[in-house]
Symmetry: C2
Subunit: 268 residues, 2 copies
């Protein structure tokens, strides 16, 4: 399969959270064509079994590969945690994922070697961040915590609300007591809570937003492969979803920070 | 299609919430055979589009009808709100649903004719409770509010937690200001929050748990049709799910209030 710079980057997620990765890509790589796939009919993946998550991830990989992409980005922590090997095995193009990127950034940032990681139940149960970090730096201690209420709080729009603050205080308490100096936001919804989480965690704790680190790795990788789009024509951004849920447009635009056009519904 | 008392009752939901209806059935109708279907791979329905919800509901109806049931109970407010006509059109056996039952109980209970209804986004947006109540009593004023955080709070197990109390205070405030004397719990997860919601609402407000009212209507309907199982043999209870999510057993048993056996996974 010959890859050309004009081919799009394929980005996929279980729902709309991955739009935070698209937003970071648009900032860094404004000339790239992008195909986004959000499995909004079957979201959330975070509470499903590994077998089901892997089956869905394979189906989405095939869909995007068939549409000729030059790079695949797994913008869903849950799929990255559970199914990245299955995705790599099916994909003829390079695959980047948010966990790999977040883990690398955490290793770079920590000074005291106590790193906190928060995410969905499935991501935390998988131990994927621990493995990704310890593979390179076995001396780092990881303190992890599943935060299943953060996604619905973000979708409710309670980004700076007493309920969200109280929830964050409860979820983060054990990590802060353990003395972390770095906190990985291991779910693509969480960047929207970044200001509140920074306040609850305190200024000395560095927050790692894996949307940004993933976009930066995509730029590096494309540059290495000489596949950066030179940008002669106007880039195309297409958004495929499996359902258009209540409030999708509204929530999606909050994630993307711009209008969400050219939405196509795929019925599976 | 000839119906016999030994045939099971089919109960279905988008996930595990409908187990609160099964629990109420087991209390009132201990001799009945029950088939439960929970679409745990595709839960939650509450945020999906009406077209998708209707398609899923039809698929589950066909599945249960093919297994010979004598009565179908739609134990999911979202499906009852959006797809009950499609379900009735496909079903050769009588269909009961939680909205019909909850609306009838609210009409019976209210004295001041100000009724509150809470549920998921899809249920509230459908206006199904309003229609079901106004069809019989147009002079009743309905005050409704979507409470999308209650389901994740129940699943987190924060049934009596400061975060849940603060959330309930915010959600219920406009209904209480409006002077409701009756509050319909329009989602099968909510009965687990009943003690907390009763405290927040105050003792004079009557809470309607539609699991109980639905089970009572099932008993009446089977008696009218002379289809109550006399109970010679030990009843069988089978639970079909489309996925076994994280913590399913634990959460399911909290809903059912007894061990969850004979679980079968259907892969769609």
């Amino acid at each position: 399969m010959s890859l050309r710079p004009e081919l799009p980057i394929g980005v996929f997620d279980s729902g709309i959270g991955g739009l935070t990765v698209v937003r970071a890509l648009l900032e860094r790589l404004p000339h790239e064509n992008i195909l986004y796939f959000g499995d909004t009919a079957r979201v959330p993946y975070g509470v499903k079994s590994a077998a089901t998550i892997t089956q869905y991830a394979a189906q989405i990989t095939d869909f995007l590969v068939a549409r000729r992409v030059k790079l695949l980005i797994v913008a869903c922590n849950t799929m990255a945690a559970v199914a990245v090997e299955a995705i790599r095995a099916r994909s003829p193009v390079p695959v980047l994922d948010v966990i790999e990127a977040g883990a690398a950034a955490a290793i770079e940032q920590t000074r005291n070697r106590h790193v906190g990681v928060i995410g969905t139940l499935a991501t935390m149960d998988s131990g994927a961040y621990e493995q990704a970090i310890r593979r390179q730096h076995p001396e780092i201690t990881i303190h992890s915590r599943a935060c299943p209420l953060f996604v619905p709080l973000v979708e409710e729009g309670w980004l700076d609300h007493p309920v969200t603050r109280l929830t964050a205080e409860e979820y983060l308490a054990p990590l802060l007591t353990a003395g972390i100096d770095t906190l990985v936001l291991g779910c693509t919804h969480y960047p929207l809570l970044q200001p509140l989480l920074q306040e609850v965690a305190g200024a000395p704790v560095r927050l790692i937003d894996s949307a940004h680190t993933t976009a930066e790795r995509a730029r590096q990788r494309l540059a290495e492969m000489q596949l950066l789009n030179p940008g002669a024509s106007r880039p195309e951004h297409r958004y495929y979803v499996t359902d258009v849920p209540q409030r999708f447009q509204h929530i999606g635009e909050r994630f993307l920070d711009r209008p969400l056009n050219t939405l196509e519904v795929v019925r599976w």
